[in-house]
């Protein structure tokens, strides 16, 4: 029990440290920073005090505490994936527009060059 507890605790600390480090190096956009910090801290809290999960699931009427954890975890992950899909669609649209405009500008520049030579 103590060894698993220790492993989980160390794991949570590493994850939280990783999040903080990504933020520190500006590798994570600010709009995501709060979300991931909250996730990291919650993870650490629930690992440090496993009794918290048990009493929380009892209060919510969930028989098995891990089920509560899985439910919340999966819900959260689905939300994150959906958000990322949305973000990727938006980025793709922006990239497309840039590519189209780049091609148009290239053609205009080459036409301009030809005209300058002709003059």
């Amino acid at each position: 029990m103590t060894s698993t507890y220790l492993v989980a605790l160390v794991g949570s600390v590493i994850i939280l440290a990783g999040i903080v480090e990504l933020l520190r190096r500006r590798q994570l956009a600010e709009k995501y920073s709060v979300l991931w910090l909250v996730v990291g801290i919650l993870l650490l809290v629930f690992t440090a005090f496993p009794g918290l999960l048990t009493s929380l699931s009892a209060a919510l009427g969930v028989a098995v505490p891990t089920n509560l954890m899985f439910f919340v975890g999966i819900l959260f992950l689905v939300g994150v994936v959906l958000h990322l899909s949305w973000e990727v669609s938006r980025l793709e649209n922006e990239t497309r527009k840039l590519a189209e405009d780049l091609a148009i500008l290239q053609l205009e520049v080459s036409q301009q060059k030809r005209e300058n030579v002709a003059e």
């Binding site: 497309r96 590519a99 405009d101 091609a103 148009i104 290239q106 205009e108």
Partner: protein, 260 residues
């Protein structure tokens, strides 16, 4: 064309993706058929000599840095057209399926519609045969779009069409870039923006290169995706109204065709 509708300034847009074998002949044929219309080939991230061949044949070439699909290529063409003050864009495929001699007939129809489709199946004189699921998809699409457009559209998925009038600025901004978006969804958007759609009978010729997709599994997938594209197009929100006419950027560049 120029005699009957002098107010139309048309640009021919040829989307091409790795079509170095056919694009040269297609461009030369277009220029022979309609010598007073500039030809813009949109090389859609081609990795072969498409852009070079098209330029040699006397077309202006837009080179997209990576493949965007027919929708993206056409939107680039529309944006170029709007920027340079054209009032109509004619899509002609690079594989030689579309007969450029029919372009003037399509342009003439532009005084009654914003989009003119060169349609197969409108009479019995067609050699182009479609069977199985692909045919059913086309029939259903035609029925739905005909109802929406309040006019008979027999070939909604035809790539051979003229975009002009109110439709051109709408498409320059909102042309759909997804699969089948360039045919099905674009018509829905145009109709929702209040554009009128008409069709002109047209003959499709066999392709010069490339293989038509007529295998049953591919056709079944096509059926599904076409249906999905249609449903999506109908339920999607489009911020196309109120229609704001974008002021074309007066580019300080005169149009030039390289070989002239």
């Amino acid at each position: 064309m120029s005699s009957k509708t002098p107010d139309v300034r048309a640009l021919i847009v040829v989307p091409a993706w790795n079509e170095q074998l056919t694009v040269g002949d297609t461009v030369r044929e277009i220029r022979a058929a309609t010598p007073d219309l500039p030809v813009l080939v949109v090389s859609d991230g081609s990795t072969d000599r498409t852009a070079h061949v098209a330029r040699e044949a006397g077309a202006m070439v837009l080179e997209l840095p990576f493949n965007l699909g027919v929708g993206g290529a056409m939107r680039a063409g529309f944006r170029y057209a709007v920027r340079h003050g054209y009032t109509a864009a004619v899509q002609v495929d690079a594989d030689g399926q579309h007969d450029p001699n029919e372009v003037p007939r399509l342009l003439e129809k532009l005084d009654e519609a914003d989009i003119v489709i060169g349609a197969r199946f409108s009479d019995g004189t067609d050699d182009y045969k479609v069977r199985g699921p692909r045919k059913w998809a086309m029939v259903v699409l035609s029925k739905v779009l005909s109802t929406l457009a309040k006019t008979k559209l027999t070939d909604a998925t035809s790539g051979f069409k003229v975009t002009g009038g109110r439709a051109l600025p709408v498409f320059a901004e909102h042309y759909p870039v997804e699969y089948l978006g360039d045919t099905v969804e674009s018509l829905v958007i145009a109709l929702r923006a209040g554009c009128r759609v008409a069709q002109v009978p047209s003959r499709m010729r066999p392709r010069r290169g490339g293989t038509p997709s007529h295998r049953p599994i591919k056709s079944a997938i096509y059926l599904f995706r076409a249906g999905f594209a249609l449903v999506l197009a109908l339920i999607r929100r489009w911020d196309v109204s109120p229609l704001v006419e974008p002021v074309p950027v007066r580019a300080p560049i005169k149009e030039g065709i390289s070989s002239d």
